[in-house]
Each structure stands twice: as C-alpha cells, then as structure tokens.
C-alpha cells in the first residue's frame, strides 16, 4: 500500500523478487537439535524431530516491508534464519534476487540481520561494531569511518563511537545493531523481533523510526514479530505463521478484514467466533464466522435489527473500562459470548460500568460476518 515511490517505479527489479522461498522445510531432530546454541528459542523445543518450517513458499518483492507474524514456535524466526543462511533447509530452495543461495553460507549472502538480542560484539567499541562489515570488505579507513558515522547519525547515535556496548541502554544497543547492519547497504535487511526487549513507549517510537528508515533507504525489510499491532502498522504485506506453515498472506487490511482461518481471526486482533448451532440460530447459516468487536452495537433489549443487520439477545456479563474505549463481554442466549468494544465518545466510566448485568440486544451488519476456515 505505502510502498515508496522510488521502488514502485523500478518495474524491472520488481519482476525478480528479493526473496523467494520454494517449498522450504526445516526439521530439527536428535543430535542436530542438541548441538544448537541458546540463541534460537524456536528451534530449541526438541523431542526427537520437530518440523519448525513445514513447506513454506513465498515471494517478497524488492523494497517491500514484509512481516512474518506468529506465536513463538510458529516457525517465523526459523524462516528468517533460513533466509540469512544460519540454517540450511531440510528440503526446498532459497532464492535471493533470482539467485539460488540454498547452499551458500551467511557470509556469502547479500543480506544483513538485526538480532533479537542485538548480538553486539561486547569487546569492541560502538564504532568498531558498526564498522565490522566494512573492515571485512576492506573498505579504506577514511571511507569506513565516514560511513559508520553516517549510519550512527541515521539512528541518532552520533558521537557514541568510543563507547562500549555495555555502556548503552537497551534502546541504544538496538540502534547500534541496526546501524551495524545498514552500514553495509544490504539489499535485504532481516529483523528478528528487534523491538521485543524494549518497553512499550520506546517500542512505539522505534516502530515509526524503522518505518521511516526503510522508506529512506528503500531496501527490503523482513520483519519477524509476535506483536500483531506492530505487524499491522508497519508492513506492506505480512504472512501469518502457525505451526510452521503460512496461514494467510496479504496486506494488513486484507488480513484484518478478511481473516482466512480461525487461527488468523483469533491471532490478529480480537475476534468473536460463532459456529455450529449458534451460527444457525443467529445467522441462519452453517459454518464458522467471525465478527470484530468494534463492528457490534449494543442496543436496548427490545430494539429490532435493521434489514441488513443481524441481532442477538443476551446480557452484559462483564465491563472493562479502558479509557478511550470500553470492552463489554456479552453472554448470548444462543450460547457464545461476544466481546464488544465501544468508544467512550459520550459515555463516562460510571455509565459504562453501570451496564453490567443489563439485558441487551446486539446488532451488526450482515457484511461484517466473515466466514473462516477451521484452521
């Protein structure tokens, strides 16, 4: 949706995806799993053989901000590590810019990674950390210092060159890790839950900053997160992972407004599920349906639903006052409990809380009933 103009014009480049995964499977088992470091939380859950990534195929366009969203253990981090080259797939192929890199080690791939634990070199100064990739590429000293300085300026850490990583705060370390990856001007930047260790305020700040940096440098960002809000706000497209598979792939709006499966509906945003007997009673249809809490209206018990609406009677079981919104938990006579959120445009907290125990009629538009697959 919000792809930068520069990359949008590059039609020729857009033909060849930045990253292409072809039926990639990654299995961890026995000896192999035990030998692995503690750095990979998702591979560590080991019994005998665990399928971390189960037949994943996807294409990520040049200049795209692409997120991989899912709970821990869903295979998103392993997929990222397969792209970086830290893991090699059990089967399937990995392509970068039209080149098959499946068997290439990480140091021969034109991607850079921002690690979840930042992975800064503790024995080097911030300047040496950022300049590491340039030293290895034998970039002359003067140019190296200039580029490292530029990269630090981009993450607003100018003048920190001489500090040691241990002298920085979590947010500053995160930015050093970002500068260290960006200074090499990779064509693809991989980010493994880079904001996971930061507090909420800082995280929201960094989200905006990352998005701005991505638009400034115009390279492909592949972003792993378990935070659905983060994925929705930052991405051009995202893939929702569950048990090693992609459940749904699409733009944030598509994922939120038309969740393909029960899992996606539940994981991305809060969602109410209506299925079986209740679906027949309330909606007059078979299957499983989801309706978002903000689409539902609370009316008086005798209110009639409009011609394009459905209605269901029930009573308010619980009220949670959230400041700008209030969340109501409503028990329906037909069985299920639905969550309803309403903005406190005119209601005060006293009025909202007084609704507890009241009999109500819930109404929502028929078009907001979304059928989902049992995933």
């Amino acid at each position: 949706m919000t792809r930068s103009a520069a990359t949008g014009d590059a039609r020729a480049d857009a033909m060849i995806p930045a990253v292409r995964l072809e039926h990639v499977v990654k299995r961890f088992g026995g000896e192999a799993a035990r030998g692995r470091g503690a750095g990979t939380a998702e591979g560590a859950a080991d019994s005998s053989a665990v399928v971390a990534v189960d037949d994943v195929s996807l294409e990520i366009g040049d200049g795209e901000f692409f997120s991989m969203l899912g709970p821990s253990g869903s295979g998103k981090t392993t997929t990222l590590r397969l792209i970086a080259g830290f893991e090699s797939p059990t089967s399937g192929r990995v392509w970068l810019h039209g080149e098959d890199v499946t068997t290439r080690p990480p140091f021969e791939r034109d991607v850079n990674t921002v690690f979840q634990d930042y992975a800064l070199f503790p024995h080097m100064s911030v300047g040496d950390n950022v300049g590491y990739g340039l030293v290895i590429r034998k970039v002359p000293r003067a140019e190296r210092l200039r580029r490292a300085g530029d990269a630090l300026a981009m993450v607003r850490l100018s003048g920190y060159e001489r500090r040691k990583p241990s002298q920085l705060s979590g947010g500053q370390r995160q930015r050093v890790a970002l500068a260290r990856a960006l200074v090499n001007r990779p064509r693809v930047l991989l980010l493994d839950e880079p904001l996971g260790a930061l507090d909420l305020k800082l995280r929201e700040e960094m989200q905006l900053e990352l998005k701005a940096i991505q638009q400034e440098v115009g390279i492909t960002f592949i972003y792993v997160t378990h935070d659905q809000e983060e994925a929705l706000t930052m991405s051009d497209r995202l893939a929702v992972f569950n048990r090693g598979r992609i459940e749904q792939l699409g733009s944030p709006a598509e994922i939120y407004e038309r969740p393909a499966t029960r899992f996606v509906a539940g994981f991305v945003g809060h969602s109410n599920l209506i299925s079986g007997e209740a679906a027949r009673t309330i909606l007059g249809a078979d299957g499983t349906f989801t309706v978002r809490p903000e689409k539902i209206h609370i009316r008086a018990p005798e209110a009639e639903p409009g011609p394009d609406e459905v209605g269901a009677a029930g009573h308010v079981r619980e009220v949670v006052y959230l400041g700008p919104d209030t969340r109501y938990l409503v028990s329906l006579e037909a069985g299920p409990e639905l969550v309803v959120t309403e903005q406190n445009l005119a209601t005060s907290s006293m009025e909202a809380l007084a609704a507890k125990g009241r009999a109500v009629q819930l109404t929502w538009k028929r078009q907001h009933n979304l059928p989902v697959a049992e995933g």
Binding site: A32, R34, P106, T113, A119, R137, A181
Partner: protein
Amino acid sequence: MVESRPVKWLLRIASSAVLAFLYLPLIVVAIYAFNSSRLQAWPPADLTLHWFEEALNNPAVTRAVVNSLLAGSFATGVALVLGTLAAIAVHRYSFFGRQTISFLLVLPIALPGVVTGVALQRTFITVGIDFGLLTVVIGHATFCVVVVYNNVIARLRRLPRSPEEASADLGGDMWTTFRRVTGPRLGTALMSGGLLSFALSFDEIIVTLFTSGPGTQTIPMFIFAAIQRPNELPVVNVLAFVLILVSIIPVWLATRISGAETAGARL
C-alpha cells in the same frame, strides 16, 4: 550478619588453623633455604644466601630448570592449539559419536598417572621414538589438553552464539570470525587454561619418570633424586623456595584475570 563474640573468636581460630596447616610447611622450607648449616636443625643457627649461589652454579639444577620450562611451554602450546580446536569442534558441530569423543577427551585426566606413563613408555618403545624432551612433552600434553579443553568448552557453553552469527552475517568467514569475535572472547579462558596446564606440567613427576630420557631431568625429578642425598638437601630447599615464589605468580594472575572478568559488565 552479626555474630556473637564467642562465635567470632571461634571462626578466627578455625581460619588461622587452616591457614597454618596450609602454609606452615611452606614457611619451614623457605626458612631452611637460608639456613647456614648443611644439617636441618631447628632453629637455624645462622642465615645465609650461600645455597642460592650453589644452586645457581650447579649445572644439574640449571638443566632441570631449563628442561621444566621447555616441557611446560611446549606441552602448554600443544594443549592450547589442540584443546581449543577440540572444544570448538565438539561445541559447534553435531556429528556421530560427539558425546563419546567429549568423554574420551576428558578421560586421560582421570586415568592414574602410572597407567598413562606405562602406556606411553610402551608405545614409544614400540613405535621407536627416542626418550627425550619430545616424549616428555607428549606425555604432559595428554593431561594439558584436557585442562585447556575443559576451560574453553565451559566458556563456549556460557557465551551466546549470536555474535558469531552476526560476524558471519556481516561477511566474516570462519577464520575471520574466530580471529575477531570468538578468539577475543575466549582470551581469559585460554589464559587460565594455559596457566593451569603449565603449572600441572611443571610439577608433574609420574608420567615424566616414564617418558624422560637420560638428559631430560626436570625439576621434580631432580628434587626427588636429590632428597635422598643429605648433601644436596640445602639446594632442594632453595629450589622449593623459588618454586613457591614462581607458582604464586600464575595463581595471582589467574585470580586477577577472573576477578576483572566478573567485575566487567557482561553482555
């Protein structure tokens, strides 16, 4: 915690007793090194530096010191290379029989020295290697490798893997990554493993007895032989005194290194 008065005194007496138990013999040897009489009578009648001169001028003593230094240095060098490589291999890669190899690597330090000594001696004779400094170094390396291996693998297990991955990600091949990232972070483990291995080699006698040749007497062997000749007792005391001083240095260094490490912020 606040202790009552008797408890405080009891603790002081106990710790003094332990210190005395540990250090009294060392002090006795140190004093005898300056004893003017060739006979070991207590208390020493007069003090002298004469025995130091005699030890210095004794070619058997100097040769033993040189041999010990050479054996210790070479065995430690071999151990640092082999022990580190083995630790990295076992830590990093998963291969068939990894657990077994890890076990077999540590086993030699548990084997009685006599067994190692006999086994090595038989092997050297069978293969046809002349006994000398080389055979002593090989003998010492069998347990020095274990010491370095243990130190390095313990460190590797504690270190997060991600900086090495970061190095590879930024374009560093295996050698670059080891030289710039893994190596520097192993530094103190290599140092303490090396010091310990040198110290072990320096006072080793059992394996040395089985593996040394005619010209390769080490300090422990010299002392062991000399102690049976009353004439040379003063020189033995001097050697013991010097050894005490010399062995304090690596221990002091090792504690300083590990102290600095604990004090430094860990990432």
